[in-house]
């Protein structure tokens, strides 16, 4: 089977992006990623996008192609929550291996901060996010309160406390400080964490991702077409997925979820082992998501992830480096595009382009994304070339 490569990437500085419309941001990212791959717009025969909350169209990908002035045979907009980056790259791999397409342009970007406002974005999430309109919404949950319910169950079951949540927030912040594209780069210590106000007990402001403008573009193509630009291609080894529910009310468990199943399926597909993974990029929209997903992925025993974060096991020089870019908690949470930052960091590390953040000899990464309340999971395995 021919190899499929990520040949180009582009990522903006996350935070407030002024002077660009959402479409203009998509265009800038697309052109930068294509230049990185040494390819042109006319080489693109498939466009995959997510529907930004800040800019809605019947078929966003077709509106984007129209904006770019190109007519790729396939322009699809997907719904996949935070698992979407893995879904899109795996779709691209399948299409390229199957011979129906040659070069796939993936753009996932949103501007919830400057096109919407932070407050209106948070309201939108509670109305059309992972909240059931009839059996949950009328009781007044915010999205943080749903994750807080999981956090409370986790504390009740494992005896976790704010030191565990704080360790995650500080871990991500320490990584983000070293990254020029990160949204949150103010140093954070435990007293600073503890002084951030409660949003939904037991979760504080610093347990929640910021609302960021941002996203990324990725060019996926065949090995023959990859390597024409400055960026070193990275091989797509495979992906795995899982889904157990959508709403918290229907979750089979509150503290054990499906990230590990998705990783097992990805490892089986790529015929490799957990121990082969050099860096893990874990979906961490809230600190509790980092703890549970890290455990479910098998990088810590159940109930022990907080202690492992405190002990530095996931630092750049630790047992398995996690979220070397700062994760969603500090690198940024660009609305619908949340999660693609994990993929970009994996590519940058595998290229050896991470500068001060570089993990020496990183050969294989695991990128995890999650949709809903621990509902859907996508894991992508990438390999250096």
């Amino acid at each position: 089977m021919p190899s499929v490569m990520i040949a180009g990437i582009a990522e903006p500085v996350h935070g407030r992006i002024s002077g660009l419309t959402p479409m203009a941001l998509h265009e800038r990212l697309a052109l930068d990623a294509l230049a990185d791959a040494g390819l042109e717009l006319r080489d693109v025969d498939t466009i995959l996008t997510l529907a930004p909350r800040s800019d809605s169209y019947l078929i966003h990908a077709a509106a984007f192609a129209e904006y770019l002035g190109i007519s790729p045979p396939t322009a699809l907009t997907l719904e996949g929550g935070g698992a979407a980056p893995a879904i899109m790259v795996d779709m691209a791999r399948n299409m390229i291996e199957g011979g129906s397409t040659q070069t796939v342009l993936i753009v996932s970007a949103d501007m919830p901060l400057s096109v919407n406002t932070r407050d209106s974005y948070i309201n939108t999430l509670a109305d059309s996010g992972p909240v059931h309109p009839d059996i949950e919404r009328p009781f007044g949950p915010s999205v943080p309160s749903l994750f807080a319910m999981v956090a409370r169950a986790y504390m009740d079951r494992f005896g976790a406390d704010e030191r565990d949540f704080g360790a995650v927030a500080m871990h991500d912040r320490a990584a983000a400080i070293t990254h020029p594209n990160s949204h949150m780069r103010t140093p954070m210590d435990f007293p600073a964490y503890c002084s951030s106000h409660m949003i939904a007990d037991p979760l504080r402001l610093l347990d929640c991702s910021p609302v960021s403008d941002g996203g990324a573009a990725v060019v996926v193509t065949s090995a023959e077409r990859a390597g024409k630009g400055n960026g070193k291609p990275v091989r797509v080894m495979g992906a795995g997925f899982s889904m157990t529910h959508l709403h918290l009310s229907a979750a089979p468990s509150l503290t054990n979820h499906g990230a590990g199943l998705a990783l097992d399926r990805a490892l089986a597909f790529a015929n490799c082992q957990r121990r082969d993974i050099d860096i893990a990029l874990v979906y961490d929209c809230f600190s509790i998501a980092m703890l549970i997903n890290t455990e479910d992925l098998g990088f810590a025993a159940k109930g022990k992830a907080g202690a492992a974060f405190r002990d530095g096991e996931f630092k750049p020089d630790g047992r398995i480096p996690i979220n070397t870019h700062g994760g969603l908690l500090s690198h940024g949470y660009p609305g619908r595009a949340a999660g693609i930052g994990n993929l970009i960091e994996a590519v940058v590390q595998l290229r050896g382009d991470a500068g001060r953040r570089q993990i020496p000899n990183a050969r294989m990464t695991m990128t995890h994304g999650m949709g809903g309340l621990f509902a859907t999971h996508g894991v992508l395995l990438l390999e250096a070339t």
């Binding site: 309201n123 949950e136 409370r152 169950a153 009740d156 939904a200 007990d201 009310s249």
Partner: protein
């Protein structure tokens, strides 16, 4: 405050209509007794037909959160309040509120009993829960 009505004419309508009449009616599958929530036309676990059973309304707090910043307009100004998953003694688990309490006093495992609130649809109500020992306010 009247709760925002759910969409009438959905699978859970028997539950909401019963709640308006002061009864807690829950959907289980006839063959195996799986709790089917949110309700569907058939049991998601075994595809069996669904029957509605009346619950005593007694249960315990499985987990909860204290909302400090409401987002829904009708909840703004009501903070802090408690959203919770309630595990019912005779089967089933509901997303609801623990009312008439000091939010900081709530613990996982607290015993609760059901009471009912009106919604903006005069036909439909919701079950909410009060801890044993807390007085109605």
């Amino acid at each position: 405050m009247k709760y925002s009505a759910p969409r009438n004419g959905r699978e859970a309508t028997p539950h909401w209509k019963a709640a308006r009449e002061g009864r807690l009616l829950l959907p289980f599958c006839a063959p195996q007794g799986h709790f089917c929530w949110p309700p569907a036309q058939r049991c998601p676990a075994c595809q069996g037909p669904i029957t509605w059973k009346e619950s005593s309304g007694a249960g315990a707090v499985e987990t909860f959160a204290i909302v400090r910043r409401a987002v829904q307009p009708e909840w703004k100004g009501k903070e802090p309040y408690v959203v919770a998953l309630i595990r019912l003694d005779d089967g089933g688990r509901l997303f609801s509120n623990v009312i008439d309490c000091k939010p900081e006093d709530v613990r996982c495992g607290d015993r609760v009993t059901c009471t009912f609130v009106e919604t903006t649809d005069p036909e439909l109500g919701f079950p909410v829960f009060r801890r044993e020992g807390d007085a109605s306010r």
